[in-house]
């Protein structure tokens, strides 16, 4: 089943490009760990979800690009075309000239109604190209004007027009110390509207991704391109095909359905976060080795201590001995705030994935698996510090966890 991506605003379009690039590169990279038949099945599954076929064989991304000014969309289109390996549809973009001025009201009340017809027509054309629609993936930022305001408007319209399709909004939480002065207004307005019309909100915080780039990827001069590539890597780990119960060559068909089924048990709790392990630069990867047990342990600790990356985890946090403490009794150690989740989903990718034992980790319940490795993204890095002793197997572990509503704000 296919996912139609709607990219809104400068942020949405820049991230969307990196996501499609990462997805394409992953499905077409020479996979040494699996058989040819496996590879082809994987490629076909990924292609069905995110790309459609064109006459001359170049895959076209299933995406609609919307922005209120030209520059970003033309840049995105040309970057995709330049790669020569995939591209965006020529007519699947909508842009205006005046911009939204970081004004949520402009995006929602002025641009929305004014251009509703054109935008919904474009989305409909993309939907018609799909054999079966899994849902929509809407990428937007919360601080700006177009992404936030127009994004809220489009999501609402999608709910009206395609009430049986699932909608996942990917929202970018702005930096704490301001990129835009009115970002707090825009964010609150967006969240309140999205909560009513969206099915799930996948949140990425600029601060957290920035720290990952700085500490784990060792990039000296972090640009938005680097941040977007880390984001795309995490999203790719979530959305690439996973095995179905039938066996190795069959992949699960409904990615959004799987995510929603496992992670959104109640419509009131829909904010999701992603934790990915291991996350490191390409050079460091060659000198590291991993085991499933080690990765799972780290991931679980990241989850319960509310850490966003595998460095600086607080190992003091432990689950309380006999379930949750009774109400009214304060816990002895106030600092160890045990992060409780409403639902979790673990996605394992890599070699010997069936040997990974998730059973004894109470926090990690539901598991999806795949063998195909998801290659890490190429980025700047420093020279490695230690010499490898044996060849490592590359594994990627992804945990998509529901945020505890109190700690997510």
């Amino acid at each position: 089943m296919s996912i139609v991506t709607v990219q809104l605003g400068q942020c949405g379009n820049q991230i969307g490009f990196e996501v499609f690039d990462a997805l394409f590169n992953d499905s077409h990279c020479p996979g040494g760990l699996c058989s040819k038949r496996e590879n082809e099945a994987y490629q076909a599954s990924c292609k069905e979800r995110f790309f459609s076929e064109e006459e001359n064989g170049v895959p076209v991304a299933r995406a609609v690009l919307v922005d209120m000014e030209r520059k970003v969309i033309s840049q995105t289109l040309s970057k995709a075309a330049r790669s020569g390996r995939w591209k965006y549809g020529q007519h699947s973009c909508f842009c205006q000239k005046q911009g939204s001025g970081n004004n949520w009201a402009y995006g929602y009340s002025v641009h929305g109604p004014r251009h509703k017809e054109s935008i919904m027509n474009l989305i409909q054309k993309e939907v018609e190209k799909c054999d079966s629609l899994s849902g929509f993936f809407i990428i937007m930022s919360m601080a700006g004007g177009t992404g936030s305001g127009l994004g809220a408007f489009v999501t609402q319209n999608l709910q009206d027009q395609y009430s049986s399709a699932l909608k996942m909004n990917h929202i970018i939480w702005p930096y704490g110390t301001g990129e835009v002065i009115v970002q707090n207004y825009n964010s609150i307005l967006t969240l309140s509207h999205l909560y009513r019309s969206s099915d799930a909100l996948l949140v990425h915080e600029n601060d957290a991704v920035h720290k990952i780039c700085a500490k784990l990827m060792n990039i000296k001069q972090i640009s938005f391109c680097d941040i977007n590539q880390v984001l795309a890597h995490q999203l790719g780990s979530v959305f690439q095909p996973t095995y179905s119960r039938e066996g190795s060559f069959h992949y699960r068909r409904n990615p959004l359905g799987d995510l929603m089924e496992n992670l959104v048990p109640h419509p009131e709790f829909k904010m999701l976060g992603v934790r990915n392990i291991p996350q490191m630069s390409e050079n460091s990867l060659a000198y590291s080795t991993f085991t499933w047990a080690g990765l799972l342990k780290h991931l679980r600790q990241m989850l319960i201590s509310n850490a966003k990356m595998e460095e600086g985890i607080d190992w003091q946090v432990r689950p309380p001995l006999s379930g949750l403490p009774p109400l009214g009794k304060m816990s002895v150690n106030k600092e160890t705030h045990f992060n409780t989740s409403i639902a979790n989903l673990v996605i394992l990718r890599g070699k010997d994935v069936h040997s990974a034992d998730v059973g004894h980790h109470r926090a990690l319940k539901r598991v999806l698996c795949a063998v195909r490795m998801f290659s890490p993204v190429i980025c700047q890095c420093q020279s490695p510090k230690f010499i490898l002793l044996k060849k490592g197997k590359i594994k990627t572990l992804v945990l998509v966890a529901k945020r505890n509503p109190c700690t997510s704000m």
């Binding site: 520059k71 840049q75 009115v182 001069q221 640009s223």
Partner: protein, 400 residues
């Protein structure tokens, strides 16, 4: 309202850039008299101006804002210029009006400039969306500093040729340098950097309407202090990060501002940083973290930064930074202006030239000065809250 300057432009190297049909000139000028500019020429040329404006606007697919460039001390710029503001507001209410005003400095060549400025300020208060005040003294100081650097021999040889902010790089025809050209070049660079993110690509774009949206918290307080770096580039092309950091520090030093003011010791309401060139988000964030403790922000907007990154650097430089701040440090400039006005007005000196014009009365003057006083009072109130948290506005209480 006189032909000399416009004719010079038409004969200069830029004659092809300007449409000769879009010019309006008169013969005798306004005589440094705001009333002549505003009332006489205003009513005389209103229709003609409107017609030419409409023609220009029709050529645009999407009109976003008007730039008005004028001086406050003269007659035409100040009088007719502010008359135009009102016309634009009525005719194109949704289009933003950006005004670049040259304020009179201490040694001024026009004696009636206080009158002209105060009368113009009232119009700016009411009809402009955003004002960038600039004064000649600061521009002159910047030029002297550059000359000093060039001639002192210490860094003179190391400065990349044609990289001064005052040199007209990129000009395809050489022309004779006139005395104000260097100073005007600085203002031109300011406007270039302001619009660069709208004209060129970048990883974090900023349009002109975003400037107003983010930097003007209340409609009255729309005066922005601008500062531009770098003023020159050293010939060494490798820019270590220290140099970048130096650029950010410079932007907040008094030497690089286009108006005499002291923002570091006053209250910031909002601040915007427009960076051009190969600067990335991490450099920007690092410098914001570094500079924040030394600046005082208003209580309801402690993280009040708006940032933009444009990939295309200006001609001759590898990167540049424009900082726009909405800061209460413009208050002394206005207080100074008001002092000079009152000194003249108390003696009613030169007043008869204004009152001669039909439509001008003494009440115009008193209204103008009270409008300025109200503005100064607003800034005072904000300054008073410098170290204290502001009380919330009273809200409706729901009875339990």
């Amino acid at each position: 309202m006189e032909e000399g300057v416009v004719n010079e432009i038409l004969q200069g190297p830029l004659r092809d850039v300007f449409d000769s049909k879009q010019l309006i000139t008169d013969i005798s000028g306004s005589g440094n008299n705001w009333a002549v500019g505003h009332k006489v020429f205003g009513s005389l040329y209103q229709e003609k101006i409107l017609e030419k404006l409409r023609k220009s606007a029709e050529h645009c697919d999407c009109l976003q804002c008007f730039f008005i460039i004028h001086s406050m001390g003269g007659g035409t710029g100040s009088g007719l210029g502010t008359f135009l503001l009102k016309v634009l507001k009525d005719e194109f209410p949704e289009v933003y009006r950006f005004v670049t005003s040259i304020y009179p400095s201490g040694e001024d060549d026009v004696i009636t400039s206080p009158y002209n400025s105060i009368l113009a300020m009232k119009e700016l208060n009411e009809h402009a969306d955003c004002v960038l005040p600039i004064d000649n003294q600061s521009l002159f100081d910047i030029i002297s500093k550059i000359d000093l650097m060039m001639n002192s021999g210490k860094l003179g040889a190391a400065i990349k040729p044609k990289s001064l902010v005052t040199s007209s790089t990129g000009v395809f025809k050489k022309r004779q340098e006139k005395p104000f050209d260097a100073m005007n070049n600085i203002v031109a660079n300011l406007l270039l950097n302001l619009t660069s993110s709208a004209r060129f690509e970048g990883s974090l774009n900023m349009d002109l309407n975003e400037i107003i949206m983010n930097l003007v918290p209340f409609p009255q307080l729309h005066y922005l202090v601008s500062s531009l770096t770098p003023l020159y580039t050293l010939a060494d092309v490798n820019i270590p990060p220290r140099r970048l950091d130096q650029m950010f520090s410079d932007a907040f030093s008094k030497d690089h501002q286009l108006i005499r003011a002291d923002p570091k010791h006053s209250l910031y309401l909002a601040c915007a940083l427009m960076v051009r060139g190969n600067v990335q988000i991490s450099d920007l964030r690092r410098n914001i973290e570094r500079l924040k403790p030394s600046l005082q922000f208003v209580s309801w907007n402690q993280e009040g930064w708006k940032t933009s990154l444009c990939s295309v650097p200006p001609v001759g430089h590898s990167h540049s930074l424009l900082a726009l701040a909405n800061n209460t440090c413009v208050k002394p400039t206005f207080i100074d202006l008001r002092e000079r006005f009152i000194r003249l007005y108390k003696k009613k000196a030169h007043l008869h030239h204004y009152l001669q014009i039909e439509g001008m009365e003494e009440s115009c003057f008193t209204e103008a000065v009270s409008s300025l006083s109200a503005l100064i009072q607003e800034y005072n109130q904000l300054d008073a809250t410098k170290s204290m948290p502001v009380e919330d506005l009273p809200r409706l209480n729901i009875a339990m």
